[in-house]
């Protein structure tokens, strides 16, 4: 069955550093992969989408890579700020419109 793993449930980093979150998937060949941010008591907020034919996508301080050989996506936040603290979810998607979510990584940026 399809399986999505996100690195460590919690990640703490110092303000100003780069946070790197990992999403690995197995038994799956997604056509694209989305990353979302979720704050407590709120719904996920869409951040970035990267397609299988794209190696890298950037948006302001965010960068996503997608390696279909390794079956892995990396999500980077550069110059991290305390306001970046949240749970980040990866969600591969395919020909069906539905998304499959990982369990998320809770990021805490320490001032």
């Amino acid at each position: 069955s399809q399986k999505i793993e996100q690195n460590s449930e919690a990640l703490n980093i110092q303000e100003g550093k780069t946070a790197t979150l990992t999403c690995n998937y197995t038994n799956y060949s997604p056509a694209y992969l989305q990353w979302y941010r979720q704050d407590p008591g709120r719904g996920p907020v869409f951040l970035l989408l990267i397609r299988e034919n794209e190696k890298e996508k950037r948006k302001e301080r965010l960068k996503v890579t997608f390696d279909t050989t390794l079956k892995q996506s990396l999500f980077h936040i550069t110059a991290s700020q305390p306001a970046d603290s949240a749970t980040y979810l990866c969600a591969p998607g395919g020909s069906a419109r539905q998304l499959t979510f990982g369990s998320g990584t809770q990021l805490t940026v320490l001032p």
């Binding site: 979302y36 996920p44 970035l48 989408l49 539905q98 998304l99 979510f101």
Partner: protein, 113 residues
């Protein structure tokens, strides 16, 4: 633009009762999705509407769950009768075109006691 609106934000009902959740998607978004997160688990897909038609309902747990989308606008998700394991947060999301990312509502937290 207004976001995806879900009502109610919280609902506490007794086992065996009926509950109806409502979702108002972003105006003009043809695609509407329902997802659910039960305690300690990942967010799971329930079903997908394109306008008023059910495109995919493979994630619906059982026939106690009924979703409708009247006129291709708002959607309702009814649970009848509710069971304890139905407790969780139900999210609605909408999108216009493939590849644009989904806009989620804040969810309805359902507690069945």
């Amino acid at each position: 633009e207004a976001g995806v609106t879900q009502f109610p934000s919280h609902s506490v009902i007794e086992k065996g009762q009926t509950v109806t959740l409502r979702c108002d998607p972003i105006s003009g978004h043809d695609n509407l999705y329902w997802y659910r997160r039960v305690m300690g688990k990942e967010i799971k897909f329930l079903l997908h509407f394109v306008k008023e038609s059910k495109q995919d309902e493979s994630g619906m747990p059982n026939n106690r769950f009924l979703a409708e989308r009247t006129g291709g606008t708002y959607s309702t998700l009814k649970v009848q009768p509710a069971e304890l394991e139905d407790s969780g947060v139900y999210f609605c999301a909408s999108s216009q075109a493939r590849g644009n990312g989904y806009t989620f509502g804040s969810g309805t937290r359902l507690t069945v006691v």
